[in-house]
Symmetry: C4
Subunit: 124 residues, 4 copies
Amino acid sequence: MSKARGEKVWYIPDGFIPPTSAAGAYESHESVCVLNTSTEEALLKFTIFFEDRDPIENILVVCPGRRTRHIRTSSLSHEGTSIPVGVPYAIEVISDIPVIVQYSRLDATQAENALMTTLGYAIK
Amino acid sequence: MSKARGEKVWYIPDGFIPPTSAAGAYESHESVCVLNTSTEEALLKFTIFFEDRDPIENILVVCPGRRTRHIRTSSLSHEGTSIPVGVPYAIEVISDIPVIVQYSRLDATQAENALMTTLGYAIK
Amino acid sequence: MSKARGEKVWYIPDGFIPPTSAAGAYESHESVCVLNTSTEEALLKFTIFFEDRDPIENILVVCPGRRTRHIRTSSLSHEGTSIPVGVPYAIEVISDIPVIVQYSRLDATQAENALMTTLGYAIK
Amino acid sequence: MSKARGEKVWYIPDGFIPPTSAAGAYESHESVCVLNTSTEEALLKFTIFFEDRDPIENILVVCPGRRTRHIRTSSLSHEGTSIPVGVPYAIEVISDIPVIVQYSRLDATQAENALMTTLGYAIK
């Protein structure tokens, strides 16, 4: 048995899916990177907040035990509703067991890429 | 009722508005990204610190409940005074209820873009 | 005698070794940057987590006292197994004395470079 | 009187001064960005740690009250010794009063720029 490490509630205020990609090795994308150090599976519940409309709630994702998952935000959806591109939004991740969450964005709008990353903000 | 999450006092020491943008998809800018998870509105008070002059104080911004706001620093002003471009500065955000704050900069001075991001520093 | 500062357990959920580098001044790489402020040597034990296979465990690295080490993730290996390129993974660093850990990635896949960095997540 | 906010001891494990800059709007550089929210002056003492040699100690910098300073690492020196370019190093900042510390790097080695930033790691 390995211990679950981290926290159960995480926030990332700056979400944005770049609407376009130039021709090249990479496609623009964001990843929410989750690490589950325990031997148990983690059940993640995402809420997506916007500037001008109600949140998308109850998006469920599983991260197996002793595994990482790098989740593309464009893959998140609930009852057919997903995150529109080119719109500012924010992310809440609630897990049933402690995990660690990092957010990264690759912007390939131009021929050359731009990268940014940060840990999520953990509620303790 | 949803709970307010985060902290009420946040700092970002490295502010800088790039003075120019190359032709292209993006304009150089910085965003202070605020997430308000509660159902109440959050009232944010910004103070801008400089290297060589007194701070700009009492810049007020509202973030509605269950919403995010990605605030361009170039939009911040108090009695007609705003942040000059090309000058090092720092940001204080004080909110009346807990929020989460992240800062990002897109530098489009060159034809290809550069990105950076960090959570703000929360006072607990 | 200088005091050991920081924490003993650190996580970085977003690891990825870019598979290619364009011709130029830099080669794509990631670094796990460790600072050991104490006069004693620090013994670091890395575990590498994947999305679809068991972790690589017990990778040992030494950081001398009053020194930093910027460890390329491509140099980490255990019994001949190292981290494959182009695959999402996550990093655990456990040290026998407190240290501080930061992670940075330089992506030189395109002719122009992209950079990202974050502190590791420290377990307290 | 305004209150000093933040912490007195900060670390940045990943320091590196890019050795070259391409022709263009920017020069490669790193900044240690300090915010002093109090009305008192802050006296900062930097120590620079290396991989293969003893630290440079007792580099003193002042940050005035209610001001920020964005300190270029290339400007730090003690008795004529400064940080060599192109060498991995790490930074300790000790302040006599609480401050907030963020680190940013602009790499202009290529014609197009790369940016990264993180808060320092605060000892509480």
